[in-house]
Every structure is written in C-alpha cells, then in structure tokens.
C-alpha cells in the first residue's frame, strides 16, 4: 500500500509573484513532520492515512490566511494504491529507467 499526495497552492490577491507563499506552505508541511519533495509545479509528500490530506490542507490554508491571503486555491492529487508499494522517488526512477 502507498499513498502519494501532490499539492499546489495558489494564493489570490497577493500579486503575480507567489513564491513566498509556496515556500511557507512547504515549511508548514515540514512542521507537520513530512519530508516534502519540492518540484517545479507542485510538492509531493507520502502519507500513511488518507485522513492526513485534511490535516495538510487545513494547516497550509490557515497558515496562508494568517499571512493575510483572502483566497487560496489548492490543487491536490492523490495516488492511492493498494496493489503495490512505491515511494515517490521510485515513481521517477521507474519512468527514467524506461527512457534509457
């Protein structure tokens, strides 16, 4: 079993540069005990239980609201697999090995 969560946050009303908020969201993931993989369009974490998705979304959004963001759009994609165990890193290395 494995659960991979990819998350992307988009704060509205703070201008066109949003990296301060993206960095704060990733910092929040670390504070929650995750080891986020920072990628160019989203950030990946592995969770043990699907309920954690709620905790993650709540902490990240409420942190951004406390920073003064009036509206946050969050995109979460969840890969829930009961047939095999794969890490997020496995996923990249499997595809990369097939590209050789």
């Amino acid at each position: 079993m494995c659960i991979h969560v990819h998350i992307k946050v988009i704060p509205l009303g703070v201008g066109t540069s949003i990296s301060d908020y993206v960095a704060e969201a990733i910092r929040t993931l670390r504070e929650l005990g995750y080891s986020p993989l920072v990628e160019s369009g989203e950030t990946a974490v592995e969770v043990k239980d699907l309920k954690e998705v709620g905790e993650i979304v709540k902490h990240v959004n409420e942190k951004l609201a406390r920073m003064g963001v009036g509206r946050v759009l969050t995109f979460v994609s969840i890969d829930y697999r009961t047939d095999k165990a794969r890490s997020v890193e496995d996923k990249i290395s499997i595809v990369r090995s097939k590209l050789k």
Copy 2:
C-alpha cells in the same frame, strides 16, 4: 467564509468505463451528509472545515478499494475564501450573469 471542494476520482485497472465508480463516490458523499453537485468532469461540495477534505478523500477511496479497485487517482481542488461568502451555485450564477 466559504470552502468549495471539487473532486474527481479515476479508478485504474477497471477498464475504460468508470461511471459505476464515479456514481459510488458520489453516493459516498451523500452518505457523509453532503449535497453534491454533479457536474460533467467533477463533483462539488461545500464544507465547513478543511479537515473534512481528509474524511471525504478517505471514505471515497476506501469505498472504491473495497469494490476491488487496486489504484485510485483523486483530484481535489479547494477554494478557501475568508474574504467573502459564496455558495457553489452563486459562483455559476455570477459568471452566467456577466455573460449576458
């Protein structure tokens, strides 16, 4: 304040027709007490607390796993707004009125 959640589930390993699983996911949302708005590519619900996103994702995915789906991809988009209160229906009617 308002929180809109749009959810799309994609079961893998069950063939190209997935509407039975999509219907079961929506039924699960109803069992959890929501009044889902069924749209062509995703389903919308309003939640009171961001933590509910975890409950939703957990119940829907575990229901599909019990139906025998070995891998489920879920796409969730969350619109968390502290500056205004809008229903999901408001969102459509505001855009539609501007189109006239």
Copy 3:
C-alpha cells in the same frame, strides 16, 4: 471517438475576485465557435481535433493578457476516447441515472 476539454483559468495579480476574467474566457470560447458548458469550477467544450486545445489556450490567455493580466494559470483536462462516442451531457446523465 470523442474529445472533451475542461478548462479553468486563474488570473493572478487582479485581486481575489476573478469572475470578470472567467466570463471573458468563456466569451472567447463562444467567439471561437464553441458552445461551452459553464460549470461551478470549470467550463467544458467538445472539440474535434486535439490541436484545438492549443487554439483555445492561446486565444483565452492572450485575451486575458490584453486585459492587463500579468500571469494566467490555466488548468486543462482532456478526455480523449477512441473506444466510444459520448457527449459532455451524456457523461452527466449516465452518472445521474446510476445514482437513482
């Protein structure tokens, strides 16, 4: 064969209310000859050829840029099916009939 395209545009740097821009994007789809289905989180159109996705994205984004938007995020999901022909409306009615 059928190709369904769902599109969602998010203009950055224009504040937290974006419905004027969403309406303009939908107006652009109409000008291109499509009959967009306006839903709560995205807008659906049917296309005949996948290349049209490029035309759509280009016209919508460049229209928003001309309105002064410095950064536009666009989310497009494409359902390309060669095994069956379904309209966007079919998709909703199939799921709804299973919910009864």
Copy 4:
C-alpha cells in the same frame, strides 16, 4: 515572457501500472524537440507559443491511442507569464532558496 507547461497522462483500460505509457509520452515530447523535466507526478516543458500545447497534446494522445489505449485522460497546467521571464528550473531554485 515565459510559458511553462506541466503535463500528466493517465491511460485507462491498461491496468494499474502505467509507467510504460508515461515513458512513451515523455519520449514523444523529446521527439517534438522539447527537453522535458521528468518529475514525480507530471512532466514539465517550456514552450514559446501557446499553440504548441495543442501539438503536444495531439502527438502524445495519438501515440498512446496507436499503442492501443482506448481512453486517455490528460491534465495540463499552463503558467503564462508576460510580466517576467523565468525558467522551470528558476521556479524550483527560487522556492528552495526561500526555504533555507
């Protein structure tokens, strides 16, 4: 000006393991002349004109259809920025530097 495109393909009807198809999609991006950045949940490319999104989507989907996939779901996110020029790599390094 810069345009970043993130793409994720999900073939349906081929079982729960889809990495062969993901690899083929990335190979197609290379054949089209792009230098894709392979990440854990999606692949990033930079384009010069938004129309290229149509070419990319068409070539990738039609390649998968020729491999026998009856239905392909594609998720594309486009970051169209006229206010600044940033590479995909810049995006990651800006966020990472803020995390230190």
